[in-house]
């Protein structure tokens, strides 16, 4: 097993510059404001010419103290805050939190609510992957897929807006189920969407998958093995592209995912190209799940029996879901009052970002940007 201390380098920036007389090494700062860092992320690179010797990430520019806020709000009041972490995939965040609190209360959302949750969460997964694809392609230089993916994502956001009134930070679910019943024409909209999108995904693939330049820019860039992924706690499409076939929706199903039939795409090499292929395939699998959910949407109540005041008994719970970025976990400690005693949010982007150093070592500077893009990090989640 590789020596774990080699995984993450620290550049000893506070110490006297040992490389002072060595004119080959250069410390380059990819500052917090940069078009390609997907938010406010600062990466300090130690370069030898064009080759990267080590990196250090400085995060915290978007830290808003969400966990501290949680201790001062009631369970239901905290629900909207959760959307603002990974703002691109807000529905998943809400799903994880509501399910965690429901577990603490020992209730389960009724079947119709579960199906509605699955439909919206998978739509959100599609939207999140579309944002990822557009921005990742833009970083590598292909300007056009961005506009195509954002255009198609509009259709998803229209459905969200009609359902709960918001496009991005949706606050779609409540503790115990869903608040809103599906609107008139929801199923028709979703089915139209399911017919509308597959040719579009084919279009994105046509632009990129066999494009010689794309393949050269992404193959063998940012390679990481499955064992390293597990050791570093990396989850999500990054882990699956490295060959480990693990998805929480199959391993520890939640919200009724065990009733749906879908596959888990994996890659072989663990490089950027494989991550791209895995996410494209995941988009198609999401369409499959949505179709099954919409076809089999049961009738019934959408809200379980939870009191108006949510007061879970004393105890703690850890619940995680498969967010588009990886394993999103909520560790909630309750002391019997209406406000949680501690909410710990385990963000997938935060843990995944640790692996940046390992993946980028020995590669060129232009690859750093490709690798940051392939992680699909959202700084709101990294910093909370």
């Amino acid at each position: 097993m590789t020596d774990p201390t080699t995984y993450i380098s620290h550049l000893e920036l506070g110490q006297p510059d040992k490389t002072y007389l060595d004119t080959n090494e250069l410390i380059l700062n990819m500052g917090p404001q940069h078009p390609a860092t997907h938010g406010v992320l600062r990466v300090i690179l130690k370069l030898d010419g064009e080759k990267v010797l080590g990196t250090e990430c400085v995060i915290g520019y978007l830290h808003r103290g969400v966990e501290k806020i949680a201790e001062n709000r009631t369970y239901a009041m905290f629900n909207p805050y959760v959307d603002r972490m990974d703002y691109v995939a807000a529905v998943s965040n809400g799903l994880g939190y509501c399910e965690a609190v429901e577990k603490l209360l020992n209730v389960e959302a009724p079947p119709r609510a579960r199906y509605i949750r699955v439909i919206l969460t998978e739509l959100n997964r599609l939207a999140s992957h579309m944002v990822w694809l557009g921005t990742h392609a833009l970083d590598i230089g292909a300007m056009t897929p961005l506009f195509y993916t954002f255009r198609d994502r509009e259709e998803i956001l229209k459905i969200f807006e009609r359902y709960c009134g918001a496009r991005l930070t949706t606050h779609a679910f409540r503790i115990g189920g869903c608040q809103y019943e599906t609107y008139e024409g929801f199923e028709k909209d979703v089915k139209n969407f399911l017919d509308f999108v597959p040719p579009k995904i084919d279009e994105y693939e046509e632009l990129l998958t066999t494009n010689r330049i794309w393949v050269e820019r992404t193959r063998n860039v940012g390679k990481i093995s499955g064992a390293d992924c597990i050791a570093l706690g990396v989850t999500g499409p990054v882990l699956r592209a490295s060959g480990v076939k693990w998805d929480i929706r199959k391993a520890k199903p939640y919200s009724g995912y065990q009733e749906f039939d879908f596959e888990i795409p994996t890659g072989e090499n663990g490089d950027t190209y494989d991550r791209y292929i895995v996410r494209i395939k995941e988009m198609r699998q999401s369409l499959r799940i949505i179709r099954q959910a919409v076809d089999g949407l049961p009738a019934g109540p959408i809200m379980a029996k939870v009191g108006k005041v949510i007061k879970p008994p004393v105890g703690e719970i850890y619940h995680s879901i498969e967010a588009p970025k990886g394993e999103l976990g909520y560790y909630i400690v309750s002391d019997g009052s209406t406000q949680p005693y501690r909410v710990r949010i385990r963000p997938p982007s935060f843990v995944n970002l640790q692996a940046l150093d390992l993946m980028v070592r020995g590669q060129l500077v232009a690859d750093v940007i490709a690798v940051i893009g392939t992680f699909d990090i959202v700084l709101g989640e990294v910093d909370r």
């Binding site: 380059l28 990819m30 940069h34 078009p35 390609a36 064009e50 392609a137 833009l138 970083d139 590598i140 230089g141 292909a142 300007m143 056009t144 961005l146 506009f147 195509y148 255009r151 632009l207 990129l208 494009n211 330049i213 794309w214 050269e216 820019r217 060129l364 500077v365 232009a366 690859d367 940007i369």
Partner: protein, 416 residues
């Protein structure tokens, strides 16, 4: 004096060859004016075409369908504050864009728009073009150096390395086309631009089709190398914003930056002209030998007029589709006026004396326009090459291919 002016009108050589200063100057103004118009048009077309590729509209407000956008941009750039970094080398900072501009514009004096429609015709024409356009590398290095900041410096060094690498492949592809000019009855080739097109005329074939597929491969190599030469996508790593080094023109603002852009578009036009002259038959109309005869000549001579009439038709279509709202009245009138202007030009081009004379210029410009559109298409479609991959393509793929094509062309030329 008047004799001096009129004496040229009966000659059949370019003014430069005839030694007529007056007409040479007139031609210079016409050509440079034309290049300026082309740059403006390219600016507009790039923004509109890129936008349409990306399912959006592009500039729509500044003039009807954004037609006045290049003027607005020019005015904006001219009125901006002229910022020079404090530690910059002022003279070098000032002269770098001028060098690029001069180098890019000077090559236009040998570009043949027709058998006598060129400013001059050097008998080393193609060599002159390749040589002078290489001078712009000097301007780029100077720009990066004078900025006194290490990001532009790295960017300019990368840019110049890229340009120098692809010039080798370009040159070899050009040589293989020159070889083909010697396959005529006298057995001597020519480096003069007009001579190359005339050789294609004599040999009754455009060099892109000669010894198929050799001519085609040579043209494709040149086409790729010329995109890299002008620092355009997909070889625009040195000037892309999302990469770490932002390019040699980071520190330039306002008018100076616009000079860089002017030089870039002019260089694009110049290398496209080389490609058209060498492989696509310059000013020759399509199928001059298959479709012979005065009837075909007549039909093909209608093309320029009809092109402008078609453009005018598009304008009027746009007028019809304009929203019927008072706010759009000025735009509608403007677009109709522009359409009327284009239609007028089209009608003028259909008139017999003009029609005959404008043929060569039209076909040449049309072919160059196709290449310019391809530039925009590449930018919309391809991701960017990483710098080491870019150099790999230049040295390890294009150069051996160009050498191979050259050798095989030479052998085939001797044998057949």
């Amino acid at each position: 004096m008047l004799d001096y002016i009129t004496s040229y009108l009966s000659s059949n050589v370019t003014p430069g060859q005839a030694g007529n200063w007056f007409w040479a100057t007139v031609y210079v103004f016409v050509v440079f004016g034309g290049v300026a118009v082309v740059v403006l048009a390219m600016n507009w077309l790039e923004r509109k075409a890129l936008a349409h590729f990306q399912i959006r509209l592009g500039p729509m407000r500044v003039g009807p369908h954004g037609l006045m956008q290049p003027f607005a941009d020019a005015i904006k750039l001219l009125t901006k504050e002229d910022i020079i970094p404090a530690q910059a080398d002022r003279f070098v900072f000032w002269i770098a864009p001028l060098i690029i501009l001069c180098a890019s514009f000077t090559v236009y004096i040998v570009i043949p728009f027709g058998p006598t429609h060129a400013i001059t015709d050097l008998n080393i024409g193609i060599l002159f073009m390749l040589g002078v356009s290489s001078l712009s590398v000097l301007g780029i290095v100077m720009a990066g150096w004078a900025s006194n900041s290490h990001y532009p410096l790295i960017g300019s060094l990368r840019s110049s390395a890229q340009m120098v690498s692809y010039e080798v492949a370009m040159g070899l592809a050009v040589v293989s086309a020159i070889l083909m000019t010697s396959l005529n009855s006298t057995g001597t080739g020519t480096l003069s631009m007009i001579g190359i097109v005339q050789a294609q005329q004599e040999q009754h074939i455009w060099y892109v089709f000669k010894f198929f597929p050799l001519g085609l491969i040579a043209m494709v190599i040149f086409a790729i190398a010329m995109v890299a030469e002008t620092n355009r996508a997909p070889f625009d790593l040195p000037e892309a914003e999302s990469e770490l080094t932002a390019g040699f023109h980071t520190e330039y603002s306002g008018l100076r930056w616009s000079l860089f852009m002017l030089g870039e578009y002019a260089a694009m036009g110049a290398v496209s002209s080389i490609a058209v002259t060498l492989w696509l038959g310059g000013w020759l109309r399509p199928f001059p030998n298959w479709l012979k005869g005065s009837a075909f000549d007549f039909v093909f001579s209608l093309f320029p007029g009809f092109t402008f009439l078609a453009l005018a038709g598009f304008c009027f279509l746009g007028v019809v589709r304009m929203p019927k709202h008072p706010h759009f009245r000025i735009q509608t009138i403007g677009l109709a006026g522009f359409g009327a202007l284009l239609g007028f030009i089209g009608l003028v081009l259909l008139v017999t004396p003009v029609r005959v004379r404008v043929q060569d210029i039209y076909w040449f410009v049309a072919k160059v326009a196709v290449f310019m559109y391809l530039y925009i298409w590449y930018r919309a479609t391809f991701p960017r090459y990483r710098f080491d991959q870019l150099m790999t393509v230049g040295w390890k793929i294009l150069l051996p291919a160009a050498l191979g094509v050259l050798i095989v062309t030479a052998i085939v030329g001797v044998l057949f």
